[in-house]
């Protein structure tokens, strides 16, 4: 299974047509796939809170948005999640590379990984963790759930899910 293609197929099937991204090595394939699709407007952001602002505007303009980002940036988005996305009750699927988890080669990444689920739990953000490739089967349901409840929803995707980093 090509998980990049499966994820973007699910986005298109759920009418997600506005995607902003801040890159991560693990997310390179899915970002490439987003860029390729005519059904999706892809706009890279310089920072994740900026991206969430773009998504809020796109949602109010009638589009279904999504952000693709790293968990290391969660800290800079907490205020935006609380005072914009949640306060105004807007849906936002967040496809997040879960750096610092199993098969992570960079020690510093672990320092935010140990806080990631706690921060999301503190914000009452529904959170799903993809560890095995088959976990991607849930993605379609998660998108439907997000746009049903009008909340930000986190999908954490670790290195094992993306197939690791190869020989290191």
């Amino acid at each position: 299974m090509n998980i990049d293609k499966k994820i973007v197929d699910d986005l298109v099937a759920n009418d997600v047509s506005f995607v902003t991204t801040v890159p991560c090595k693990q997310l390179a394939g899915v970002i490439d796939e987003v860029e390729k699709r005519d059904e999706i407007f892809h706009i890279p952001s310089n920072k994740e809170d900026e991206g969430m602002g773009l998504c809020a505007g796109a949602y109010m303009g009638g589009k279904r948005p999504m952000i693709i980002m790293q968990n290391t940036a969660l800290g800079v988005t907490l205020n935006t999640l609380a005072t914009l996305t949640q306060f105004y009750r807007m849906p936002l699927p967040m496809l997040i590379s879960y750096r610092g988890e199993l098969r992570e080669p960079v020690a510093c990444q672990v320092e935010m990984a140990v806080h990631t689920k706690a921060l999301l739990a503190q914000l009452n953000i529904p959170t799903y963790h993809f560890h095995w490739q088959k976990d991607v089967e849930e993605f379609d349901n998660i998108l439907k759930y997000t746009f049903m409840c009008n909340k930000p929803v986190a999908i954490l995707t670790d290195a094992n899910f993306w197939g690791g980093y190869g020989d290191q």
């Binding site: 506005f18 920072k47 809170d49 900026e50 602002g53 773009l54 505007g57 303009g61 005072t83």
Partner: protein
């Protein structure tokens, strides 16, 4: 002129358009001067007025004006390259540049010192950047809205605030009526 005087002057120009208004006093002033369902008032999230308005402009065809401040743009400087590289003609960014953080007690910003947001916007790749003095804003803003080119306006003005109450509208109400106005 101070910001509230500028908002009073441009209210008839922006009334029929989608407006995303910056957190704090700018939203409170616009709400008091001319509350419209086409106004999206930011109650939090300093810095994102330009981003929210830009996302809205990209998602649909109606004209959108983001009212921002110099302090807020400095908070989210990354917005300018994003706007510059994805231009859309229905978007106008109005930066009311009074050189101070008005809502927090008029502490000076760097935009009131050495930093020129006009030059920054140009350096970021924005092609249509106009710096204007407060008294001359009206016609410039009208032209920006009417034109098919995306425009960034940096309106230089005095710092100063008026006393007024906070907005007590529920955020979901603000968002809902705004989305209905977008669809109308």
């Amino acid at each position: 002129m101070i910001r509230s005087e500028i908002l009073r002057e441009i209210a008839p120009i922006i009334r029929d358009h989608l407006v995303v208004c910056n957190i704090g006093l700018p939203s409170q002033e616009l709400h008091m001067i001319d509350d419209q369902p086409t106004n999206f008032y930011m109650l939090g999230t300093m810095g994102l007025s330009s981003s929210i308005g830009f996302g809205l402009a990209l998602a649909q065809d109606k004209a959108v004006i983001s009212i921002d401040g110099d302090g807020s743009v400095l908070t989210n400087l990354g917005t300018l390259p994003t706007i510059a590289n994805n231009p859309t003609g229905n978007y106008t960014l109005l930066i009311i540049d009074n050189g101070s953080y008005g809502s927090t007690g008029d502490q000076p910003t760097y935009a009131g010192k050495k930093t020129s947001l006009t030059a920054v916007a140009k350096a970021c790749g924005c092609e249509n950047v106009i710096e204007v003095q407060d008294k001359d804003l009206g016609p410039v803003l009208q032209e920006a809205i009417d034109s098919d080119e995306m425009t960034i306006i940096v309106c230089k003005c005095d710092s100063g605030n008026i006393k007024l109450p906070v907005i007590t509208l529920d955020p979901v109400v603000i968002r809902h009526r705004f989305m209905e106005a977008v669809k109308a």
